[in-house]
Structures are given as structure tokens and as C-alpha cells.
Symmetry: C2
Subunit: 319 residues, 2 copies
């Protein structure tokens, strides 16, 4: 989390001529989100985030991400609202990068969510799933089963140097999970709703951010991503109380079918494998000059091994 | 510029119990300043910066830095005002680091200052020199002549790999500048007033920030640091118009003696050598896993070589 591309006052002034959002009062690079450069921008009309999209976000996907945020915000979801240029475009360019300005949301993310945080975040995910309905654009999940194989091939040779037996685990699970992958109700999902991407005021959700992995996929998979990232303790144990709380929060807004519940064990393994693979890839291909420390893939191999012992969705807190 | 130490919501809540500054509404790591971790903090009572001091700032120097900001702010200088804890302390600690909360200042720094920016920034430096009078604490300049020799010894062996002939340049100039180093009117100086450390609203100075090199030294040396960092163009040429503008802005507030003016050529060389040495040191000792890209020492060897040809302060724009 760092600022990759500098933006000078002069760059900012030039960019703001394209927008009708007032005079800048403050402008600071902030450490946030995936590998983009983000800036806090305050003008006499409000607070905004300026994002410069670095290599991980393909410019071709921007209409989907920005259009989705606009769609969701107009349907009452507390997410950043892209600010259009005077010409009506949702994005522009600066210093040879695509960029966008979105509204700034108040609130703070929690590192160790309580059960109440989990309930409220689960409900926020379900509301997001419902509000995504009717969004005109679609985007395939590049990090779904079809994307796992090439990812694995690009780093499997180094897997055992990260953790003994990791190459075998990845190879076997990739085949098994892909073969058992279900087809369930789907629509627009966030696909990365980790605790850092949910803002709270006290215990209430005040915002959902970072839509740069959003795509069309199964709703229940999105729930599996959340259970993986919200309900494990630092020591690797699954906190059933938090799991039940998150699931209950979700189901109170959007009911789950018996098929969705029955598929949870394989969805949990798939979600764990997805983050295991991207973290392994990032670690193996880590540029020592890069500004970001790679996250530990072993956190997710541990979760994957946990899920492999699960026989029934009830073990996660589904009733 | 990055965030080195993470601060969770829970850490922040714990810290804010020590302060009487309201309820947090937003909290973001920001990329700013020397090697500290900085966070933008908004509460229902105002906007603040939380700084966690990393290795470069010695905890023993904090009373000087924070006390100075308080002293200057109370004398009308637009600088961050440290917020005391309920117990009246200007600093606290968080995640095994000393930390402080200061008021947030509006304004934006410029990368390519105009002559008018230079005039106004020069005047701000002179006001700062005057306002420092009467501050009770003192701190020696660790990066003055006495500090150059150990710095040079710690990196001179690698100097020629950075630039051909750099070891000879540093060795000769270190001796020559130290021998010719003057004794002139002194007091509290900023010692690092680069363009990133001055905030503007339109062309007016709205704030001076980053006091973590402040110390007691010659006022004219502080002016030399500014001329070095504000008045050279990207191509290495000295912009006499900007030099004259900055000097004029300074002298309109605090007159310079003939001794101070006559000493400018050696002060300019000393200021250039100081930044050349710290940049060289940082480059040579750069940890490839560090979050910050080392700045280019060659920018300052070029400036030093320029100053070596200067015979008279008039060449910088002094009349």
C-alpha cells in the first residue's frame, strides 16, 4: 500500500480543469486499496479520492468498475460515487495513467471484527448482491476456476520453497475443486470484501470500497470469500460465532437456497485457493524494489487445509 | 514516502482515549514527510495528522520538535500545532513507537514553484526565523560540518560507483567547506524547507510542515538550503529570477548583514554537500526491501559543482 505515481500540484490543477468540483484545499497521497495510487483530495465542495490506475487494473475494465459503483450508489449502497468530468466521462487520464475521482466516504475499517461487525458486513454484502441487479455491463471473474490453472503454472515450481508440500496441495486441490465447482445463482459480486474494504461508524457499515475485483459470479462464492477473510482468528482457527453472525446477517437480507448452502464447503476451498494462488504468485514474482510487501500465502494454505476436513456447511455456522 | 507501521481501528481507539479530540470519522495512512508513518485523522471536531516516529527520529528530540511547533504556532506561524493528551503531554506511544497528533493544515505543495511562490516562501522562512526567538530548548545540527565527516566515511568507498570522481569531490570539498565555514547570526532553523514542506493556497503560504530536521544553526544556512531546493531547474540550471525573488521575500522580513551575504557561496556549497552526503548514504545503505526509493545524490553533486564556480553572492541574486 503506497503511492506509485506522483501527482504534483500542477498535475492536479490541470486535471481539475476537466471537473466541476471546486478549488483544491488539501491533497495527500494515501496508502489504500490494491496496487493503485490513491490521493485524498479536499476541495471547497467536499472530499474525494483520486485514483490513478496502475498495471493491475486494465483500462478496459474501468467502465465496468466505475459504472458499477455509480449503479450501486444510485440504489442506496454506501460506496464511492464516481464524479463525472464536465464532458460526462467517469474517467480521465493523468501522467500516462487512467484515473478517476470518486466521493470520499467516512468510516474506519476494523482489523479484528466483532460478531456484530460480521453480522452488519454480511448484511451489506447481501444488499450489494441485490442492488447489483439490472447493471448492464458484465465482467467475467478472471480469478475464478479458469484463471487458477495459468496462475498455478506460473508459480508452482517455487511453491515448495514457500511451504513443504504446497505444490502437491495446489495441484490436487485445483483439480478437485474445479471438478466439483457448482453452478448457482449469480450476478455482480464484490469478490474481495476483506475487512479493509468495509468502513464502519461505530458498529454500523458506513461504506463498501475497492471494487477493482468486482465481476459476475456466484453470490455464494462472494459469501465464501467473506467467511474466509472475516471469521478466522490470527492463530488460524475458525471462529464459529463470527461465522454464524456473518451468515445470519447475510440471510436476513437475501435468503440462501439449499443448493447454495450445500455447496459451501467446496466454495470455501475455492475461495481459499484463489487467494493462496494470487499471494503465491505475488510472492514468487515479487520485485524487491516494489513498494508493497507481499502477503503471506501460508495464511491461505492453512485455511484450505482446514476446509478440506469440513464435511458439511453446518460446520461453518449454516443451519 | 509510505506507511511503515500499521495502525488498526482498535489501536486508534485505544490511543484516542488519551486525547480529548472527539470521535473518529475517517483515518487513512498518508505518504508524507521523512521516514515516519503518517495518518490523516478526521474526527467530529476537526482534521489532524497522527505521526508514528520511525527510526530516523530520536525520541529524545521529540520535546524539541513538538515544543518548537507549539512555540511557532502560538507566535502566528502556520505550522502544525501539537495536540496535548488529557494529561498535557505532547507525545504518546503506539505500537512500540513514539507518536504525536498535530492539527491538519490545508494547502498544497508545488513541485515547480513560480517566482511568486519563491518570494512568499522566502518570507515564510524569515518569519519562522524571527518567531523562533525565545524558544527555550536547543538542538545541535546533527547534519552540520561535524556530522559530515562520519557520514562521508560511511559511504565514500561506494561513491565512485554512483558517479565517476565523486569520492574525490566529496573528500576535497568536505575539507575546504569545513575550513571556510563561517560563524553568523543563528537561532532556530527549519533546515529542510524544500518545496514539499511548504503548503500554498493559490500563491499564499498556508503552512510550513515537517520540522524533524529543525535545529539551532545559522539563519543564512537555512536560506542556502532553500535556494538549493527551490531555485534550480530540472536541467540543473540555476534560475536567477527565482533566486532573486526568494532572497527579496526573505529580506523584506528579516534583513541580511553584509557578512551573511558574503558567506553565501560557501553556505550554498555546504548545503549542497549536506544533501549530497545524506542521499549518498541512503543510496549506499538502501535496503532493497524498504518502502522508499532513495533520492538521487547526483542532483546535489551537480549543484555542488555549480557552486564551486560561483565567486560572489551576486551570482545567486543577492544585491
Amino acid at each position: 500500500m503506497a503511492v506509485y505515481t506522483e501527482v504534483s500540484f500542477e498535475d492536479l490543477e490541470r486535471l481539475l480543469r476537466e471537473y466541476d468540483i471546486g478549488t483544491p484545499l488539501a491533497f495527500k497521497g494515501i496508502a489504500e486499496g490494491v496496487e493503485n495510487s490513491n490521493f485524498y483530495l479536499q476541495t471547497d465542495r467536499g472530499a474525494f479520492i483520486l485514483t490513478l490506475y496502475e498495471k493491475r487494473v486494465s483500462p478496459g475494465d474501468l467502465p465496468f468498475y466505475l459504472g458499477l459503483m455509480e449503479h450501486l450508489a444510485r440504489r442506496g449502497i454506501d460506496c464511492p460515487l464516481p464524479v463525472p468530468t464536465r464532458q460526462g466521462a467517469l474517467s480521465s487520464s493523468l501522467n500516462r495513467r487512467s484515473c478517476a475521482i470518486v466521493t470520499f466516504l467516512n468510516g474506519l475499517s476494523v482489523r479484528r471484527p466483532s460478531a456484530l461487525h460480521c453480522t452488519n458486513a454480511g448484511a451489506a454484502l447481501a444488499r450489494l448482491h441485490q442492488a447489483g441487479e439490472g447493471f448492464a455491463l458484465t465482467r467475467a471473474n478472471a480469478l475464478g476456476p479458469a484463471g487458477w490453472k495459468p496462475l498455478a503454472e506460473a508459480c508452482i515450481a517455487h511453491a515448495d520453497s514457500v511451504e513443504d508440500g504446497l505444490a502437491t496441495l495446489v495441484g490436487e486441490q485445483l483439480g478437485a475443486i474445479t471438478a466439483a465447482w457448482p453452478a448457482l445463482p449469480n450476478g455482480v459480486i464484490h469478490a474481495d470484501l476483506f475487512p479493509d474494504n468495509v468502513l464502519f461508524m461505530r458498529e454500523e457499515v458506513s461504506g463498501v470500497i475497492d471494487f477493482y475485483f468486482a465481476c459476475n459470479d456466484m453470490f455464494a462464492y462472494d459469501l465464501a470469500v467473506m467467511l474466509n477473510s472475516w471469521c478466522f482468528e490470527m492463530d488460524g482457527s475458525y471462529n464459529l460465532t463470527k461465522g454464524m453472525a456473518l451468515i445470519q446477517g447475510y440471510r436476513a437480507v437475501r435468503p440462501l437456497s439449499q443448493d447454495e448452502i450445500a455447496a459451501m464447503p467446496v466454495l470455501m476451498r475455492g475461495a481459499a485457493l484463489r487467494f493462496l494462488l494470487t499471494r503465491l504468485f505475488d510472492l514468487v514474482h515479487h520485485d524487491p524494489n516494489a513498494l508493497v510487501m507481499p502477503k503471506d500465502p501460508k495464511e491461505y494454505s492453512k485455511k484450505l487445509r482446514f476446509h478440506m476436513k469440513v464435511k458439511d456447511a453446518r460446520e461453518y455456522g449454516f443451519e
